[in-house]
Symmetry: C2
Subunit: 230 residues, 2 copies
């Protein structure tokens, strides 16, 4: 990278960070917890969210508490799938852009998120392990999804996302018997770049790990479903 390019990228990121701070302030003032979910294309973001919406709507006396923004370059397939599953969802098409940015999210907040009703906003980013990690959207947490089918070494080769993630979800664990995949080696790569974030093993297909995932998203929903003894 030459100095002019670096200066330019820093200025784009600085402007994004300013808008992300505004988003974060608005979301915090209105009590909305926000997750920014990032992964490679096809790691299972939409499938996980379909199952999530079904679970929350089943468990929850107030199904309107979750709102979803979903990003892709083109098409609105993901919004359609999530709407069919029962979600309140809006699609953002980024066209030539390879990631969501804080301005795109900021535009949706006041017209889509309903303060006092929505308690959780999930942002499904563009399928890209690289660029979305650099752009703060104003989220409470970044969540990294890594599919077992992608191999063990991706966290070391593309470390930024995994370093910044508050939670790492290892998806498609039902496929492990059919893959040359070492969970031990994958964990070593993850721990090299992020020694502390919880690693959640999950299969949206079999349901394994879904209870822990729902508990991370919305602890109160889980408690409503299984009240602790007095």
């Amino acid at each position: 990278l030459r100095p002019r390019r670096i200066a330019l990228e820093l200025s784009v990121l600085a402007k994004n960070d300013r808008l992300a701070s505004e988003n974060r302030k608005w979301l915090s003032e209105h009590g909305v917890k926000t997750l920014n979910i990032i992964s490679s294309p096809g790691a299972g973001k939409t499938r996980l969210l379909e199952r999530t919406v079904e679970r929350l709507n089943l468990n929850d006396a107030q199904p309107a508490r979750l709102a979803i923004l979903t990003g892709d370059q083109e098409e609105d397939y993901d919004a359609e799938r999530l709407r069919t599953a029962g979600a309140e969802v809006r699609q953002i098409n980024t066209h030539s852009a390879c990631h969501l940015d804080a301005a795109m999210i900021g535009k949706e907040l006041s017209t889509f998120v309903r303060p006092g009703q929505h308690r959780l906003l999930i942002i499904e980013n563009v399928g890209n392990l690289v660029c979305p990690a650099a752009f703060d959207l104003g989220e409470s947490h970044k969540v990294a999804l890594l599919s077992t089918t992608e191999g063990e070494d991706k966290p070391s080769k593309y470390p930024l996302l995994f370093r910044r993630a508050s939670l790492i979800v290892l998806t498609k664990i039902d496929l492990i018997p059919h893959l040359d995949f070492s969970l031990e080696l994958c964990t070593q790569h993850l721990r090299r770049v992020n020694p502390t974030a919880p690693i959640l093993m999950l299969s949206a297909k079999t349901g394994e790990g879904m209870d822990a995932w729902i508990d991370f998203l919305m602890p109160q929903a889980q408690r409503e479903r299984s009240p602790l003894p007095a």
Copy 2:
């Protein structure tokens, strides 16, 4: 995108295109066919290249005809794997950049590719379905890899790569029995954005499709292996 951002991106792309033309001229003058292989992280680029190197070295009286440049943000795992498989390979680390560009390739050409010996240069791009498609490197052909584990709809959601590819390789077809994957639906999505490029079904694990792949890369190697009857 605001006008200033667009102008900037166009200027970055214009400069890249100029350097790509220089690469293309050099490669053409020295008789080197060049492939730019692009896919999501974990679609199987490196695995396919390991098997490719083994096949070519087995078949070929002149194993030095293939050179590989491999890109990742960090680490040199892919170069190590390919060297172990018998390749002449050099790793390019892009650090913050999410794609290879023509300048990075241009720097390697005169010191790595040996005119008169290397006939085929394979460039394994950074694992990213989105950004690398926009940057011409001076290649003869773009090759898009799409893994069956990524689902059927990625070509419609991220169309640029699939539109520009001369060949589309559908990888990990051995996993289809374990996935909810419709080959018919995937083909429909591919044909929406690219009606003509050949679609090669491949499993680097079982070897299915490898003959057709080698034939695309280096037709003469295949002929040497199985001489046609006079």
